[in-house]
Each structure stands twice: as C-alpha cells, then as structure tokens.
C-alpha cells in the first residue's frame, strides 16, 4: 500500500506548480488507523470486519433473542441448480437449508438497505465537498459528540467534510465484503447470516449518519433546534391555483438548486413546491437554521404517490432516489405531467438531456415530444424544473386535466362492479372493496370513503378487475372532501439530540421519571391506516415518554388534529425532554436516534465510544429504556435501520406486514437460564426479569403495540422508582387496550418499592394469594418470593470481560 497520505504539497523549484492529492485509496484508512493508535482508550473493535462482533456480542444477543424464521416462499430460485423445494427445512441442490436460505434472504434485505443509505451518503459527501470544499466544518449544534455512530465503528471524530471520507470508505469496503457472502456456495448458516445482518445494521447507521450530518452542515438545516419551524403537511395544503412542482424521493441535493432558483427569481409565492417521502422532509429543512418562514410543503409518504399523480395536481414531477414508484412515468404521461429523473440511480429509460441546453429541453418537454428526461447537472436541473413548472401550469390548467372521474363516470363504474371479489383477494391490505361498491350502488359512499386512508395506492386491485374499473380513482373521488381537509403541521426535522439535552435528560431516564424513549419511524405500509401512529404517539406523549420520530412516521403523526384543531406538534414541545415530540428529520436522521442512546452511554455514563460497540450496546440493552416502532416498515432500508437498532440493544415493534421480512428476534421468556447477566462488580451471575422480551417482532394492531412498547422500556437495571413508574404505565396500558391486567407483571417485582404506588396494597395481596409470596403486612413489605434481588449498585452486563474478577 502507498505510504502517501491525503493532503497537498508543492514542488519548490517549479514555483507555479501545485499537485493536490485529494484521495488515495486505502491511504485514508491507513491514516485513520494511525490516529486510532493514538487514542488513549479505545474498545476492541476499531474498523470492524465481518467477524468482529460475532462471538463477543452478536452471538450473545442471538442466544437470548433467537432468530424466528417465517419463510415467504418454500422455494429457493437463487441459482441454476434450482429451483429447489426447501419446505420442511429441506436442503437444496447446493446444500443450503431453508433456515440458511431465509437467513440469507433477510440479510440481503439488510445489506440492500445499508447500501441505499451509504450510496446516498457518498453522493452527498462528494457533491458537497465539490461545492463547499473539504474544510466545511460539521456545525451540528451544541455538541462535542458529533458522530457517535462513526466514532463507535472507526474511532474517528470528524470535524469537517473531508475528515468523513475514511468512515465512508470503511462502510463501502465492508459492504462489498458483505455482498460477496450472498453468492451461491458462500455462507450457509442462518445464525452467521444473522450476525452479518447485525453488523450490516451497525454500518447502516454510519451511512445514515454521514448523509445527515453533511446535509445539516452544508445546507443550513436546523441544528439540534427544538423550535425548528412548523411545516405545512398534507394533500390539502396545495394551492391548486398555482403551478405545482412535485418532488419525490430521498436525496435533497438536486432540490436545493430548484429552491435557490425560485428564491433568486422571486417565485416562492407564485408556485408550489412540495414533495413526498424524505426529499420532502429535507427540502423543508433547507436553510431553516435561522427559522425563516418556510414555503416548501410536505404532501406525505410513498402511499400517496399514485394518489397525488392521479389527482392531476402536479405540473412537473422530479424524482431522485429510493421509495419512488416504478410506474410514475406511464401514470404521469396519461395526465401530461413531465417527469425529470435527477439522479443516476433512477433513469427510467428516459432520454438523457444532461448536456443539452435548458431552453431546448423546456420546449421538448412542453410539447410532449418526450415524456420526461434525465438531468444530472444540478445547475440546469434547478432552472429546468422551475421554468418548466411555470410553463406547464397554465397549459395543463387550460386543458383541465384530471384523472378524478366525473359524477356520471363514477356512477357508471360503480354500477359495473360484478361483486366477484377478485380485487379483495389481490389487495395487500385486504380491503373489502366489493362490499364498499355494493353500498355505493345503494348510494352509501361512506364505506368507499373509509378505504381512502387504509389504501396504500398500489393499484393491485385495478390490475385484476375484469370490469376494468379504475378502483383507486373511485376511492379518490369519494374521498375528495377528506383529501381537501388533509392539512396538518409537522415540525421541520431538527437534527441530532444535543449533548446538553442528553445531560439534562439522562438522569430522568435512569430514574424513570421519564419512563422511556419511543422512536416512531418508517414507511406507510400500515394495516389499518395512517392514524394508527397518531394514536400511539399521543398516548405516549400524554404519559411523559419522549417520542422521537423520523421519515414517514414523523409526517403521518402531523396529519391529524385534536378537537381544538391542534396537531401533536403544536401540543407538545420539540425538545428531547419528558413529554417532548422530537422530529429528528428524514430517514437518514434515524442515525441520531441510535446516536442519542449511544450518547447516554458516552456522556451520561462516561463509556468509551471508540471501537467499543459491544460495551455501548450492552449498556443500552440493560439500562436505556428505549423502544422503536416501525409500524409501516415496507422497504429494505427499514430492515437495515431496525437491525442497526437491534445490535445496539434497542428493541423494535413492527406492524403486521413486516412479518414478511421473514425474520424476527424473540426471546423465550420461559427459559430461566436465558435471563441471567453478570454483576460487573464481582463477576457473579444475577437473574434478571425477561426484559426486554424481544428485539424485533410484530404486533397485530396499534392497540396491541402500545402495551408491548411500554413493557419493552423496562430494563434490568431500573431502580425502584423507575421500575414502579414503568410498571404503572405498562399495566395501565395493558388494561386499557387489552381489557385485563397482564398475567406476568409479578416477574418484574423485586421488592415492594417496585410496585405501582396507586395499587401497591392490592398487588401485594395478589402476590400473596396467587404466587405464595410472604408479606409482612404490618410493614407492607415483601419478606420472600421474588427470584430477582435488587441492589442499587449492581452493574448488570452480558460481557464477562467487563467484570472485575473475570
């Protein structure tokens, strides 16, 4: 390997010549490794590889939280030996069994998600270095710990854009190693695929962290700002009298040029710019660090993509990358909406006009000569999209283009329905469309209207309808009023949690006065509709949990109002505090959620971050009451985000559709030997309650998810006050949503002080009568019964090497 390092030097005799070496492959990592040697204290896993976390941490997790495999399909169609029938855990022609194959399938989802975020990070990093230079400082708000995920993996703490490069290279190198293992005839053990998936999850949070910190720094996004501005959200917020530019995707790079062009040409109030998915969230963060009045709007999540296009509202659509539907061009073409592809990851087969003159491209698109084009030059992109929108608006208006059926068309379509039920079998949400059609025939449209929020806009129903009824348009037609009222507020993504907030909140979290952190993230593949996440957020906020949120979850929460017409963002503060609703940002901002948990360990408990994943994760698993909710997790990125939370000891509840990820991590609560840890003070084994009882599982309904999550915030090292507060919430929520007290509450009781205050006496009685515990009724004390002892100074750990006498 070259001994040259990144930097610049000049040759003395040739005065006017300067050679700049921006990057030498491998050298950056070498420099980083040199630096790592200088670190005073570092853990054992700086620059980890495929095997680094396996024995010391991952297998420990997977021993308690066993992989639960639920195959999607009985076959393996991976190579030309096959297809093979693996049902009943048979082995295929290559020798892999059903467990191994499904471990591989899940792992493949995780590395795909990781690659998506990492590639997004690489794109932004290179673009921003080119635009702003390597020395642009990572100004992210009041924090010393800027990049906890990067630091845990590499030991590095970059302070500017250039210093991020070694971390980026590290992720890319490991991703190649990981991808190689998927090839036929490589890894075949399910458990090793799980260990590799967990590793990939940790890399994902590095990739996401890179994406978000560089955009926060370069684009002047809010910087750990609890009072970031409120942004308008919902389909109903679009002013249809103005030309409307609709952006879809996850990469804000190109959109900033459009916004700059709008601002330079004084167009911000003459047209609408709004988006779907994370590009929308991030465009609403652009230049908002000084809390200027925002003008960009958010429409919603991926489930609204087709609905918005079918509404005919957009005059131009721009896509970048990730979570973009594959049928946007044909759908948009029907309504004369030009589509601009702005990122090489999605080019849709469109003609590439990157090198063309903007005037010419505007003409080509306006005339309909081409349905859209690729435009990868951002300067031109900014001008093209805005000018085209301003021109297309009046043209499309004059033609009165919309896909919403007229009243007559609507009545005809409804009358045509043969009640065959094919659409219901095809609908991934199992919506009873035939029943709703039946009621519509009799003039009752309420059933059809109810489908609007539950429908994810996939159009599988239309594909199977023999009567060729445009079912999605029918649903939209009846939901026009509902859509017009879809207007809410979302706090602009505020960026990471500051060190000061961690210091202030750390004690409350450990004491239990803040009963836990609930992270609501992920996509819109809900089982019962968008409002589920609103109900969940509201319940936890009212109970003083900290609710952090990102991506589609953050949007959907803002879509609904209480009886006073207020959204949750207006009702609850935006700080990382008791009862705070903290919109961290877009999907890539999820790294700041794990980052917050890591910071609790680093700042509050003084644990070393550098190369120390196992110890940080061990601390979080035992002490930090946090639980994620990815209620509509649909994409591969959601699986990598969740798996990154899992390796760090943060459990996640998913919606019922996510059973299709094929893999969950659930512990056997009845196996007592699984529920033991060491006391780091003396290395002795100590029993713990079954908490948390899963790292990844699904719930059937939002009502079930709530008590599950409250329970998952219980941690082995809760003190008595914390335990009694957490038990109070969990038991109340269980009763409220499941109709009864839970059966297993007593397993979490170590002494009388752990019992919920309001019910202490009644519960003591139950412990005596049902479980045979001895109670001293004079002192209202438990004399004997609990299997678990409580000792305030105990230091629970799963890592024997942390024990003093180990």
């Amino acid at each position: 390997m070259s001994k040259l390092t990144t930097g610049s030097f000049s040759i003395e005799d040739l005065e006017s010549v300067q050679i700049t070496i921006n990057n030498i492959v491998g050298a950056a990592k070498e420099a980083a490794e040199e630096k790592a040697k200088e670190l005073e204290k570092a853990g054992p896993t700086l620059f980890p590889g495929l095997e680094s976390y396996r024995d010391d941490w991952n297998f420990k997790l997977l021993d308690r939280y066993e992989p639960v495999i639920t195959p999607m399909c009985d076959q393996c169609c991976y190579c030309t030996y096959g297809p093979c029938d693996l049902s009943g855990n048979k082995r295929g022609a290559c020798g892999i069994d059903m467990l191994g194959h499904n471990g591989r399938e899940f792992f493949l989802r995780v590395i795909t998600g990781t690659a998506c975020h990492a590639a997004h990070g690489r794109h932004l990093l290179d673009h921003l270095i080119e635009t702003f230079g390597e020395d642009l400082p990572l100004n992210l708000g009041q924090s010393n710990v800027l990049t906890p995920n990067i630091t845990i993996s590499t030991g590095l703490s970059p302070k500017n854009l250039g210093e991020i490069k070694p971390a980026m290279e590290f992720v890319e190198e490991q991703l190649t190693q990981l991808l190689a293992t998927v090839h036929a005839g490589q890894e075949s053990a399910e458990i090793d695929y799980d260990s590799k998936a967990l590793f990939s999850g940790s890399l994902d949070h590095v990739g996401m962290e890179i994406s978000d910190v560089v955009q926060v720094a370069a684009y002047d996004f809010p910087k750990a700002d609890p009072e970031a501005p409120l942004i308008e959200i919902g389909m109903g917020t679009i002013d249809k009298s103005k030309p409307f530019l609709c952006v879809i995707g996850h990469n804000v790079g190109g959109v900033t040029y459009m916004m700059d062009y709008m601002e330079e040409h004084d167009l911000t109030d003459k047209m609408e710019i709004a988006g779907l998915c994370c590009t929308a969230i991030d465009l609403s963060r652009y230049k908002e660090a000084d809390r200027r009045p925002p003008y960009a709007k958010v429409i919603g999540s991926m489930s609204k993509e087709l609905k918005v296009i079918r509404s005919g509202m957009p005059d131009v659509i721009v896509v970048d990358e990730q979570c973009v539907r594959g049928d946007i061009v044909p759908e948009a073409q029907k309504l004369k909406i030009p589509v601009i592809a702005s990122n090489a990851k999605i080019m849709y087969g469109l003609p590439n006009r990157t090198d063309a003159n903007v005037d010419d491209v505007v003409e080509e698109l306006k005339s309909g000569a081409i349905p859209g084009c690729v435009m990868l030059d951002y300067d031109k992109l900014g001008e093209l999209c805005i000018r085209l929108t301003m021109e297309m608006g009046p043209i499309r208006d004059a033609e009165g283009i919309t896909a919403i059926p007229t009243d007559e068309e609507f009545a005809d379509w409804v009358a045509k329905c043969a009640d065959c039920g094919a659409c219901m079998i095809a609908c991934p949400e199992e919506l009873d469309i035939p029943e709703a059609m039946g009621f519509a025939k009799e003039g009752d449209f309420s059933y059809l209207e109810e489908l609007h929020d539950q429908c994810i806009g996939c159009r599988r129903c239309e594909q199977v309808c023999k009567k060729e009824i445009p079912i999605l348009n029918i649903i939209e037609k009846v939901a026009q009023k509902q859509i017009a009222e879809e207007k809410g507020w979302m706090r602009a993504g505020r960026g990471q949690v500051s060190d000061a907030e961690i210091r202030a909140e750390g004690l409350n979290l450990v004491m239990g006065t803040t009963p836990g952190i609930i992270a609501i993230i992920g996509c819109p593949n809900y089982a019962e509709g968008t409002k589920d996440v609103y109900y969940i957020a509201e319940e936890f906020l009212k109970r003083n949990f900290i609710v952090v949120t990102t991506g589609c979850g953050a949007m959907d929460i803002g879509m609904f109002k209480d009886e006073d017409g207020k959204t949750l963002y207006e009702r609850f503060p935006g700080g990382f505090e008791c009862g705070g609703l903290v919109n961290i940002g877009s999907c890539v901002s999820n790294a700041h959620i794990t980052g917050a948990a890591e910071k609790v360990a680093a700042i509050f408990a003084q644990r070393t971050l550098e190369g120390n994943l196992a110890e940080i994760s061990d601390y979080i698993l035992n002490r930090v009451g946090a639980c994620g909710l990815a209620w509509g997790a649909f994409s591969q990125k959601a699986s990598s985000i969740g798996t990154g939370c899992n390796i760090l000891g943060i459990p996640a509840v998913l919606g019922p559709h996510s059973s299709k990820y094929r893999r969950a991590l659930i512990a056997k609560t009845y196996e007592e030997d699984k529920w033991k840890v060491y006391d780091a003070r003396n290395g002795q084994e100590m029993p713990i309650p079954p908490a948390p009882e899963f790292l990844l599982t699904t719930a059937e309904t939002w009502q079930e998810a709530i008590p599950m999550m409250a329970k998952a915030c219980i941690r082995p090292s809760d003190n008595s006050m914390g335990r009694s507060i957490k038990l109070t919430h969990w038991m109340e929520l269980h009763k409220k949503y499941l109709g009864k007290d839970p059966e297993d509450w007593w397993k979490f009781v170590r002494n009388e002080a752990d019992l919920p205050l309001a019910k202490r006496e009644a519960l003591l009685k139950e412990l005596e009568s049902k479980h045979g515990w001895e109670i001293d009724w004079k002192k209202k004390k438990i004399i004997s019964g609990p299997k678990i002892k409580f000792d305030v100074s105990a230091q629970p750990t799963n890592l024997k090497r942390l024990c003093k006498e180990a």
Binding site: E66, V68, I69, T70, P71, M72, C73, D74, Q75, D85, L86, S87, G88, N89, M98, L99, G421, I425, A426, P428, E430, E435, R460, A527, P656, H657, S659, K660, R662, A664, I666, K668, Y670, E693, F694, T697, T698, A699, E700, T701, Q703, E704, M708, H734, Y737, L738, G739, K740, P742, E743
Partner: protein, 170 residues
C-alpha cells in the same frame, strides 16, 4: 352444507406446498380428536358475529383461547379461558416442543386459527409449517396457504354458515 373446499386462489404467498382444504365436517372431527388443541384468535374477531362463534367453539369443544393482537379486549368478559399472547411470539413458541404452553401443561398438538388478516397469519404459520410437526387448521374466510388445512375463499355469509355448521358438529 357450505362448500368450503373450493376457490383456493391466493395472493399472499407462494411456493410448492399449499394447505389441504377442509369441510366444516372434517374440521370439526379433527378438532374433536385433538389431544391438546388451542384456539388462536386474532383481532378481526372484534366483529360481533365472529366473536359470538369464537365463544361458542371455545365453550362447546372446551378449547382454551390464545387471544392475540387486541382481541382479548372483547373476550375478557365472555367467560372463556382466554389469555393474551402476541401472535408472532406464539407462532415461535409453538415450534418449541419444550414450551410449557399458556397453562404450564406443555405445548399443543393442534392449533385452530380464526380472525386474522391473511397476510399476517400466513407468515406466522410459515414457521410452524417448516420447522415443526404442529397441525394447524385455518377456519378463516380466506384461504390460508401455510396452514395444514384451510377453508377456501368464502363470502362473509358462507363463512358464518360454515362456522355454524362446524359448531353444530363439535
């Protein structure tokens, strides 16, 4: 008698093996013969028509209920032997011969499922299908591929009628 053995079109999953269709009569026989049956009930039983039939099946055949999702809320006051457990967790525990069961007396030999979205129960049962010998009988409105036995796709009315027939034969 409702013909519950036709229309086995499926959209939720695919593969080489699909469940055998059963009539209410055969389902009733299998349930009656089971040594340690469990009625696994999902949240769609919040529908009063379905709830009523769940209660009847449980009482007539004396089968305990695993109330998953938020179904316990509607079963709590129905004087049936019902206990809450998460469906995914239950699906996993059912594959473990050492699971003590909901009552501490050991794992079950037959699980009857009712009241789920197809896509969800189908995934949960795919673990049991591939990694255990458990017999699972789906008496749902939709055809459940990964059950051992299942009704075909039925209309709402036929489904209720089929369940009534089954109850009569228990």
């Amino acid at each position: 008698m409702v013909d519950t053995a036709k229309n086995t079109k499926l959209f939720t999953s695919y593969g080489v093996s699909t469940s055998k269709t059963v009539t209410p009569e055969i389902a009733a026989k299998l349930i009656s013969k089971a040594k340690r049956p469990l009625l696994m009930v999902g949240t769609l039983t919040l529908d009063p028509e379905l709830l009523d039939r769940v209660v009847k099946i449980s009482k007539t055949a004396n089968i305990p209920i695993a109330a998953t999702g938020s179904s316990l809320a509607s079963l709590a006051d129905k004087d049936v032997d019902a206990e809450y457990i998460n469906a995914h967790m239950l699906g996993f525990y059912l594959t473990d011969p050492n699971w003590p069961g909901l009552d501490g007396n050991g794992n079950y030999d037959t699980v009857i499922v009712l009241g789920f979205k197809k896509f969800y129960i189908n995934q949960v049962l795919s673990a049991a299908k591939n990694f255990s010998n458990l017999k699972t009988i789906a008496i749902e409105r939709g055809y459940i591929q990964n059950a051992t036995m299942s009704f075909g796709n039925l209309s709402k009315a036929d489904h209720y009628a089929a369940l009534d027939e089954l109850i009569d034969l228990l």
